[in-house]
């Protein structure tokens, strides 16, 4: 029998709500699938489309964005800005051969441990069903400045 496909997932969470929820899942010793790698930003409004595409290009099979509930953003409305970007990007993803379901945006409040678990479990299962991402045209959208830095120093 084939070994079950285990997706690689990136979760980019805002510091004040969704990352707090992720911490709380831990403190409450609630278990979830190990596939997700969590990156912390101050606000979901910091997350731009290029960053998400970069995650896909680097091998993520799915990207989860977590922000505060509408109205609860620590910086007024960064989460609405994230919503707008994600909505637009989802429309573009098929052009790169990425199913829009591979990108998910959720609002998770700081005390919503159970919701966090459900979201991660649900997303992992969904991407597991979808199978690995096979990029046809790797989106090369990283600002040139960084390309140079990274290749010069790290990949050398």
């Amino acid at each position: 029998m084939d070994e079950q496909f285990e997706p690689k997932l990136i979760g980019i969470l805002c510091n004040w709500c969704s990352y707090m929820a992720a911490d709380l899942v831990g403190t409450s010793r609630i278990r979830y699938a190990p596939n997700i790698r969590i990156i912390r930003v101050m606000c979901s409004g910091r997350i731009e489309s290029q960053l998400i595409l970069w995650a896909f290009r680097s091998g993520a099979d799915g990207v989860l964005i977590g922000g505060c509930n509408p109205g609860d953003c620590h910086y007024q409305e960064g989460n609405y800005k994230a919503l707008r970007r994600v909505t637009l990007l989802k429309q573009m993803l098929p052009q790169f051969g990425i199913e829009p379901e591979r990108l998910r945006l959720d609002w998770i409040c700081a005390s919503c441990a159970e919701e966090m678990r459900k979201t991660v479990e649900g997303f992992t299962a969904q991407i597991r069903n979808l199978g690995p991402l096979r990029l046809q045209t790797p989106p090369l959208l990283k600002p040139i400045k960084i390309e140079m830095e990274v290749s010069r120093h790290v990949e050398a």
């Binding site: 690689k8 990136i10 004040w16 709500c17 707090m20 992720a22 911490d23 899942v25 831990g26 403190t27 010793r29 609630i30 278990r31 979830y32 190990p34 790698r37 969590i38 990156i39 912390r40 930003v41 101050m42 606000c43 409004g45 910091r46 997350i47 731009e48 960053l51 970069w54 995650a55 680097s58 091998g59 993520a60 109205g71 609860d72 620590h74 910086y75 007024q76 409305e77 960064g78 800005k81 970007r85 409040c109 700081a110 005390s111 990283k142 600002p143 400045k145 960084i146 830095e149 990274v150 120093h153 790290v154």
Partner: protein, 670 residues
């Protein structure tokens, strides 16, 4: 500016990786030695070590020692959440003379060992996260924390016992305090009670002197009948806008003689008094209760004849005479305050008993809530302290139902913590005042405070009846002559395993505590969060119980969760001390996660200008670039995300750092 050569003088970076066992919290799941071995293989890692408790003194000393010995220029600590120990290890870095921001914390406890079932998976996940951080930290820059002067002064929101106590502590320490209360008087719920458990001291005797001290204190300004409408700025430098609602009696001119109330055309009080929960009456011009602070009457425009018809003989105005204190044209007034810190002490609301129709509240006149009975028992309440049924007779028997709206899947799951105790208090007082037989219907008796269990014992000896079981129903449906014209409480007595019917004359519902109805709006106003059920969330349930996630904003009292008066006062003192620790600093250090704009890449498109929620970016017409006004930036990073050329960046969350972290989490060895 960016790039990892910036602080290594051309030498390749040298990273030290320190992995914590956290006792068995991490090491019990993650194979730490394997992760250490793995870390040693990562590019630029000069040393990787493990230790039982990295945050302990020996752990910190080890890191400092290794920084020197191995000439480290970057530091990674893989341990708990950055929300817990980031500060600790930044300090370690600085003490060993590495810039504290050339450090990255890797959360392998909350995000890995505690949430992963399988040890192998957990180990792999920890490796990936360390790899990600080891890539990211290469791009860290040396930063200095931003320093700002701290303004003196504190706004306390909510004038219950929590707000009052916090205000007094701070004012006595010489701090300028603005106490904002939305009701006409300060005092909160405590001002409504007659006696307080477990000591049965009279609430007014211990509260009223405090209220008076607040009013007289040279360092306290009471803004009553007022609400905070806007909060801006940041820790140490808040701007708070307060709306003073019109009371139509000018506070500065009023001498508190109440001749205006006497002279009102309504000779007798006719309208339900809100403070008495409608059980007592007031005139259109009134003070909510005799000990109100400030002792200034107010006019209710809904019931005042002058407001309704414009044709009142205005007895109040004549009585006030030359003092000229009545002003029918008073308008909202906005007061702007600049302060260093804020305490939110907005208290609680009680559960609305009509949500449980089977208890008959609002259906049978002799079903009361605990709070209403507090008013009836109060010597300065609507009945002068006498508890009578609606027909004017003394009750012969009283049933007190505990946990109404608490500990129930269908209403609120939490225990309200004070209901058992106030039920006992009411039982005692009812027996003392009316001689009635008193029955308590309880699920469990929760009496965990100092002197509480002893109070319960005392009641058992006083001959109050205790029936263990959740009441099914209160009705007026009589099955025996004894039940005629009475209320029947139907309950399964779980101690004797039998359904019982207890006829009583009066039912008291011990309603639970709930967050204020506007809790959500208040959290938005102050940029704080709610925990489950809308109680305000503390920064850490154990280690930072009065702080919030917003620096400079603190919590006191029942707004954070159900609490009795002793706990409320203790917490208010703690909040006051935390604020004093803040305002007594001359400067405050703020996380340097602000934005910066690299002029070389800025095309002057101005997208960031419109997006910034704090108007911290403006356009320089001459240079044709966007410029950041740093003190206004609170570090959300929305400009960095929106900038098409990568010119706008956010310190600690720069493009390079995030790209490197994501890449490291996904690709590479291991």
């Amino acid at each position: 500016m960016s790039g990892f050569n910036s602080s290594t003088n051309g030498h390749p970076p040298r990273i030290g990786v320190f992995i914590c066992h956290c006792g068995t919290n991490i090491a019990g799941k993650v194979n730490v030695p394997e992760v250490v071995e793995f870390a040693r293989t990562l590019p630029f890692v000069a040393v990787a070590k493990e230790y039982k408790y990295m945050c302990s003194d020996p752990g910190q000393e080890m890191i400092k020692h290794d920084i020197q010995q191995y000439g480290l220029t970057r530091l990674l600590v893989a341990a708990c959440s950055p929300h817990i120990h980031e500060e600790t290890f930044r300090k370690v870095a600085s003490e060993a003379s590495i810039n504290p921001f050339l450090f990255q914390m890797v959360n392998i406890r909350e995000l890995v060992s505690w949430v992963t079932e399988d040890g192998h998976e957990a180990t792999e996940k920890a490796k990936a996260m360390i790899r990600a951080a080891a890539k990211r930290v290469l791009f860290h820059d040396e930063l200095e924390p931003k320093k700002y002067p701290v303004k003196p002064g504190v706004v306390v929101v909510g004038g219950g016992i929590a707000g009052i106590h916090a205000a007094l502590v701070m004012a006595d320490a010489g701090e300028r305090v603005y106490l904002v209360e939305r009701e006409p008087s300060i005092g909160g719920h405590m001002a409504m009670f007659d006696k307080t458990f477990p000591t049965l001291d009279c609430a007014a005797c211990i509260l009223t002197p405090k209220m008076t001290t607040v009013r007289r204190h040279p360092n306290i300004t009471v803004l009553s009948y007022s609400e905070v409408v806007e909060v801006s700025g940041f820790v140490g430098n808040f701007k708070v806008k307060v709306k003073k609602k019109p009371r139509y009696v000018v506070e500065e001119k009023c001498v508190g003689c109440y001749e205006c109330i006497e002279a009102c055309v309504f000779k007798e009080p006719r309208f339900p008094n809100e403070f008495d929960l409608g059980l007592g009456k007031r005139k259109p011009i009134y003070v909510p209760f005799p000990q109100a602070v400030p002792p200034v009457p107010m006019i209710d425009p809904e019931t005042c004849i002058q407001f309704r018809t414009g044709k009142c003989p205005k007895g109040c105005v004549n009585a006030c005479g030359d003092r000229d204190g009545i002003d029918f044209d008073q308008k909202d007034e906005i007061v702007e305050l600049e302060v260093g810190g804020i305490i939110v002490a907005t208290g609680f609301d009680t559960f609305d008993a009509s949500r449980l129709p089977y208890y008959g509240y609002g259906i049978y006149p002799n079903v009361y809530t605990g709070l209403e009975v507090e008013r009836l028992l109060n010597a300065s309440g609507p009945t002068g302290g006498e508890v009578l049924l609606r027909n004017g007779q003394k009750p012969q028997s009283v049933g007190i139902i505990h946990c109404v709206g608490s500990r129930d899947e269908n209403t609120n799951r939490w225990c309200s913590r004070v209901c058992c105790m106030y039920s006992l208090k009411l039982a005692h007082l009812m027996k003392e005042r009316t001689g009635a037989e008193v029955y308590n219907f309880y699920i469990d008796i929760r009496a965990p405070g100092k002197g509480y269990e002893e109070f319960y014992d005392r009641l058992l000896q006083e001959g109050v009846h205790f029936i263990r079981g959740k009441v099914a129903e209160v009705s007026d449906w009589a099955m025996t002559p004894d039940e005629e014209n009475r209320l029947v409480i139907r309950v399964e007595d779980t101690l004797i395993g039998m359904v019982r019917r207890i006829p009583v004359d009066m039912v008291i519902l011990s309603v639970g505590l709930e967050p204020q109805r506007d809790a959500q709006e208040v959290t938005k106003l102050f940029n704080i969060s709610c925990s489950t059920g809308n109680w305000f969330m503390e920064r850490h349930p154990k280690l930072a119980p009065v702080s919030t996630m917003s620096a400079g904003i603190y919590l006191a009292g029942a707004c954070q969760g159900p609490k009795d008066i002793p706990d409320t006062v203790a917490q208010a003192g703690a909040a006051a001390a935390e604020v004093l620790a803040l305002t007594h600093k001359s400067v405050i250090e703020v996380e340097p996660n602000t934005a910066f704009i690299d002029e070389r890449y800025c095309s002057g498109c101005q997208i960031c200008v419109g997006l910034c929620p704090y108007s911290a970016i403006y356009y320089d017409e001459e240079k044709k670039v966007a410029v950041l006004n740093e003190p206004l930036c609170l570090g959300c990073g929305v400009c960095a995300a929106a900038c098409p050329s990568g010119a706008a960046q956010q310190h600690l969350f720069q493009d390079e750092q995030l790209y490197a972290e994501i890449e490291g989490a996904l690709v590479g060895v291991g």
